[in-house]
């Protein structure tokens, strides 16, 4: 067991859940409200120095009763040690969690991917958009267990949507604001742009 687990419990007490070991890796469960503090502590405290964020991902189990977990793999380059931090979320509840981008820039795209694939929203993320799927993708969150392997829409519907897609939609609102195209936009799009709205992401349900 990685000694950081005990150190965390000593510092944050109630915010630290169980610590388990699997295949030689230590996993610490952290309360979602304390995530950012715990991560900052792990990164900056001498003796911990988990300065490298290896990966951010999420896991949803086939067992409907289990929580959806957001998984952070941390590494101390100095001490050559890894630690896995998990936050449990209710898959049927509010999937919101603090973003760790203020601590690690590298989390930017990783959190976008978790948002894209699982629908977890990261509060404080500078640019939370879908990344692998397109911005107006309306079928939901592909890596959720209730998402069928072939997608929610029929192949015919997918083709219809692709053919009807607005070519302007290939640029985000942000990009259009730079382009000459701004002046040629229809008034309603300019209005949306003025209000600072991003490409609309419909709800999965």
């Amino acid at each position: 067991m990685n000694p950081s687990a005990e150190a965390l419990r000593g510092t944050f007490a109630g915010a630290i859940g169980r610590a388990v070991e699997s295949c030689g890796d230590t996993i610490v469960y952290v309360d979602r409200a304390a995530l950012l503090d715990v991560m900052a502590w792990l990164r900056d405290t001498p003796g911990q120095q988990y300065d490298y964020l290896v990966d951010v991902t999420a896991v949803e189990y086939r067992d409907r009763e289990r929580s959806l977990e957001v998984v952070y793999n941390l590494r101390s380059l100095e001490r050559r040690t890894d630690l896995r931090v998990k936050v449990e979320l209710d898959p049927r509840g509010d999937l919101a969690i603090d973003s760790v981008v203020p601590l690690w820039q590298g989390a930017d795209w990783l959190e976008r991917e978790v948002f894209d694939m699982f629908g977890v929203t990261f509060r404080g993320h500078p640019d939370l958009r879908r990344i692998l799927m397109w911005e107006t993708y309306a079928e939901g969150y592909p890596l959720r267990k209730d998402f069928p392997l072939r997608g929610r829409f029929s192949r015919a519907e997918q083709v219809r949507q692709a053919l009807n897609a607005n070519p302007e939609a290939h640029y985000s609102m942000e990009e259009l604001s730079i382009a000459e195209a701004y002046d040629e936009l229809p008034p309603d799009m300019r209005e949306r742009l003025r209000r600072g709205e991003r490409g609309k992401i419909p709800d999965s349900e």
Binding site: V54, V59, L132, E175, G196
Partner: protein, 428 residues
Amino acid sequence: MSKRTIAVELATPGLDPQGRPARIPLEAGVGALERYGEPDAGEHMLINIGPQHPATHGVLRLVVELDGETVVRVIPHVGYLHSGFEKLGEYRHYNQIIPLTDRTDYLSPMANNVGFALAAEQLMGIEITPRCTVLRVIACEMSRIISHMVWLGTTSIDLGAFTPFLWAFQERERIYNLQEMWTGARLTTSVTRVGGMMADVTDDFVAGLRQFVDTYPKTLHEIDRVLTRNAVWVGRTQGVGVMTAQEAVNYSLSGPMLRASGVPYDMRRDKPYLAYDSYEFDVPVGEHGDVYDRYLVRLEECHQSNRILRQALERLPDGPLNIGDPRLILPPKSRAMSDMEAMIYHFKQVMEGVKAPVGEAYVGIENPKGELGTYLVSDGTAKPVRWRIRPPSFINLAALPKMAEGHLLSDLIAINASVDIVMGEVDR
């Protein structure tokens, strides 16, 4: 038409008072337009590169905001090659996932096979045989050489040098022939299995690889002589796309990108797998973190890979290739057709797959592009609950906007090339 007013007065092109490349806030966020008025069509240019463009190395799309020829902002768009491998993996047995790993980073398929097999073995608590360990090292280092050769060839093409491309691809072709000799496939090798390998190597393969190891450094020296002190190459790469060590760590860069920035971290040496700590090799580390240093690091890694291959060939032990457990390894086909016991094992493995105990495993290996992590979560069935690939080039690519800011458009091409992306892995 109203003019865009730009609040930042640029003294030198693109630098703010703190010396950082200036960013003109053009975000569509609330207030941006109020602050700067209506955007003017003529001030900044928006250029779309890709997804079908030779310099984007696949289907990467970059939307670039230009002030004259200076890059103000780059917005990468990825996902054009998204194939949902991770989702597919949740519907497949562990051994059935291995063919999917070929297709992620398709420039180093064997190393991906090894990465997945190591994670599945850690999950199941399997110790592989000594011969298998050495063969996997050979597979990884062969992959590193072909991947770096493709990188070198395509990058030199991007920067206008054609000859090294041909030399590099000739060497790659020789490794491809060896891969074909070993696995029957040049690209989709699927060479590993959980607990062993799909096939053993022949004596011809060993002789062929030995010949390759002896002759390959000559090509590296030729490339070195053509590029390393070439005025055009140096001018196009030095001081371009700099990442400091601190930034590289903060952006979670890995592999040659991290080491070129001066962080001496190599999974093979610092978190050894496959008994890499018993090989003699050096980890090249850059100093300036620019495109030139990334080139030097990768060129030196080719030499080191060759060194490791030579040692691996010397120590390649005899003995069994696969572990002895018949519940995990398919019996030979001839026995499955003639022996009742073997047929039952064959049937159970094909129909039910191998069950992994409840738990989770993360194994990171030093792939040519960086740290390829495989994170497997099992709920005790024969199919993983979650198969996560930590894609090194996806994470490295995320630093592209940061690196390209304030450089010329032509430098953006050099910087993008230096990241060494492969879209099959970025998009998965």
